[in-house]
């Protein structure tokens, strides 16, 4: 088994053994397959048909669909955890998606890129053009990331949605992760909101 992407490894560590898990935007199923080692009963939603085929061939139960339109069909509180990795910034209605995730799962594990990362800020400040970084490597007119935010912005949204942050981790440039104190994200100009390339959060409904 190939090594998991750092944010997926951080999410995997948040999932308890034997849990029922829904991975929204599960890609080719790498995380779901990894979670099988924890005897997790995993399900996926994935928008790309090629990825769904890859999942099916791995024996994973994955439904081709769109987080923006399909979460409404899932009953409340049937999953121990719902996962959304590097996807919320590409949804049409991040607020509605997060509300659904908190409804469907008892815990929600989310990873997202940080638009407040210092390299992004510096790039815009000095170059005067939309930043392109390793994790956000798209021209502005071709990016699927239509709702980018900073970690501080995201923390604000979790409050709006009535969620509590159970755990938070900073994703560093070098692929390492570090636990962060969510309180350190209330001020947007310093701390992990400046120094982390992305974040991983475990949420629950307050």
């Amino acid at each position: 088994m190939s090594e998991l992407r750092p944010d997926l490894a951080a999410i995997a560590a948040m999932i308890r053994p034997d849990a029922r898990v829904l991975d929204v935007g599960c890609g080719d199923g790498a995380l779901l397959e990894h979670l099988k080692t924890k005897n997790v009963d995993g399900r996926g939603i994935e928008i790309s048909q090629a990825n769904v085929n890859a999942c099916v061939a791995r024996g994973l139960a994955v439904v081709q669909g769109d987080a923006d339109t399909d979460l409404v069909d899932y009953p409340a509180q049937v999953f121990d955890a719902v996962i959304l990795s590097q996807t919320i910034q590409a949804t049409e209605k991040p607020r509605a998606v997060l509300d659904h995730l908190l409804r469907i799962g008892r815990r929600v594990a989310i990873s997202l890129p940080n638009f407040g990362y210092w390299k992004v800020r510096l790039s815009l400040l000095t170059g005067g053009r939309m930043p392109r970084t390793n994790t956000l490597d798209y021209s502005w007119w071709a990016t699927p990331n239509i709702h980018l935010c900073t970690l501080a912005d995201f923390v604000d949204l979790t409050r709006e949605c009535g969620a509590t942050i159970v755990e938070a981790h900073a994703l560093n440039d070098n692929g390492t992760t570090a636990k962060m104190n969510p309180a350190s994200l209330t001020h947007g100009y310093l701390g992990p909101n400046l120094f982390a390339q992305g974040g991983v959060f475990l949420l629950k409904k307050s």
Binding site: V52, N53, A54, V56, A57, L60, V62, V63, G65, P75
Partner: protein, 385 residues
């Protein structure tokens, strides 16, 4: 119970594999309250059943399909209807799996149906044949599978009405099937689909040669009515885009409009051909009976309309396949099944394949469908001996 190679009507292809048929003496109880006894199921098998009988796959055919899934058709000589899917090295690999395909009861390719002889009076059944349902068809298939000594099927596969039978298998015999692959189908027949079927049935019954359903006694054949039924149905099997691309407004063998009612347009001539070739291989009363069976299909009906309840505690894994341009069984209907299965925590995958070929895509060369089925079956069969 008797078993013999058997075929009821003249075989035009001398080399054709006409398959087998088994006649069961013990009655088949039907949803209408009547029973069929004796009854015959005609079928074909491919590949070899392994020692622990765990590699059997049942293929369920569509409305006008038959058991000749990977064999030349004995009446038309045409290749099997799913030759792209079933065979050595194909997604449903007959080198690896024991593949069974049987003719549904009510049909006309060797299984008991309205064109067969009613043992009570020695005449063809005609409209005295009981109205059969999808669950009845599946009950008959279960008898065949038991007859072949198989307790649990590795998989059931099929498209359209075949998919309905698969869902019924999962509902009626949840412990007898490990993997279910419904393609281009629904858990119930929609009002629009019933409407199209009724047009077809009325066309058949309006043909004076139908003779109140007793055309076999009068040596006539409601070919015109049956052809019209097929023409109307065929439109629903293809997408508007495919028709437009294939035919557009092109004229057939002429440079200008004729100002008559002979077929001017290629699409007209194409539909005429579809109708005319169909009547040579299909029985009109069978068409009435099988369309009725599809109309009556509503899997959730017995569960107070709750589709999810049908699949509670189902241990099979499901892979549902839909095609974007299928307007007969649109993706949303296929997806409803996936959501119902999800709601009861069943193992379900759903794939929506981009195709502009309409409902018939499941019979055509669709590489993504082949990849899906191959991958899914490979995984389902990974622990086979």
């Amino acid at each position: 119970m008797t078993e013999a190679p058997r075929f009821l009507r003249p075989v035009t292809t001398p080399s054709a594999d006409v398959g087998m048929a088994v006649t069961f003496e013990a009655p088949l109880p039907l949803d209408c309250g009547r029973e069929l006894a004796p009854f015959t199921v005609a079928y074909i098998t491919y590949g070899t059943l392994n020692a622990d009988k765990s590699n059997a796959i049942l293929i369920c055919h569509a409305l006008t399909g038959d058991q000749f899934v990977a064999s030349d058709h004995p009446l038309t000589g045409k290749p099997g209807w799913w030759i792209t899917m079933v065979g050595p090295g194909k997604p449903i690999d007959t080198d690896r799996f024991f593949v069974i395909c049987s003719n549904v009861i009510g049909s006309c390719m060797g299984s008991t149906g309205p064109a067969e002889i009613d043992p009570s009076d020695g005449n063809p059944w005609g409209l005295n044949f009981p109205v059969v349902t999808i669950p009845d068809m599946v009950r008959a298939q279960k008898r065949l599978v038991e007859h072949l000594g198989i307790d649990k099927l590795l998989a059931v596969l099929g498209g359209s009405m075949g998919g309905m039978q698969e869902l019924q298998w999962a509902a009626s015999y949840p412990d007898c099937v490990r993997a279910v692959v419904p393609i281009a189908c629904a858990a119930r027949h929609s009002a629009q689909n019933i409407a199209f079927h009724e047009v077809g049935r009325q066309a058949i019954m309006a043909d004076p040669d139908w003779q109140g359903g007793e055309y076999l006694l009068h040596n006539t054949k409601p070919s015109k009515g049956l052809a019209v039924a097929r023409m109307a149905a065929h439109i629903t099997y293809v997408s508007e885009l495919a028709l437009q691309r294939k035919f557009g407004r092109a004229l057939q063998n002429r440079d200008a409009k004729s100002f008559q009612f002979t077929p001017d347009f290629q699409i007209e001539s194409y539909l005429h051909h579809q109708g005319a070739s169909f009547v040579d291989r299909f029985d009109a009363n069978s068409y009435l009976y099988i369309t009725r069976a599809m109309d009556y299909f509503d899997l959730a009906e017995e569960h107070g309309g709750q589709l999810a309840d049908v699949f509670r505690l189902n241990s099979a894994s499901f892979c549902i396949v839909a095609f974007t341009s299928d307007w007969l069984f649109p993706p949303v209907e296929n997806k409803r099944i996936a959501h119902a299965l999800n709601a009861v925590a069943a193992q379900v995958s759903f794939v929506e394949i981009k195709s502009d070929k309409g409902h018939d895509a499941f019979l055509l060369d669709e590489p993504e469908m082949f990849a899906t089925v191959r991958g899914f079956l490979n995984h389902a069969a990974q622990d086979l001996s």
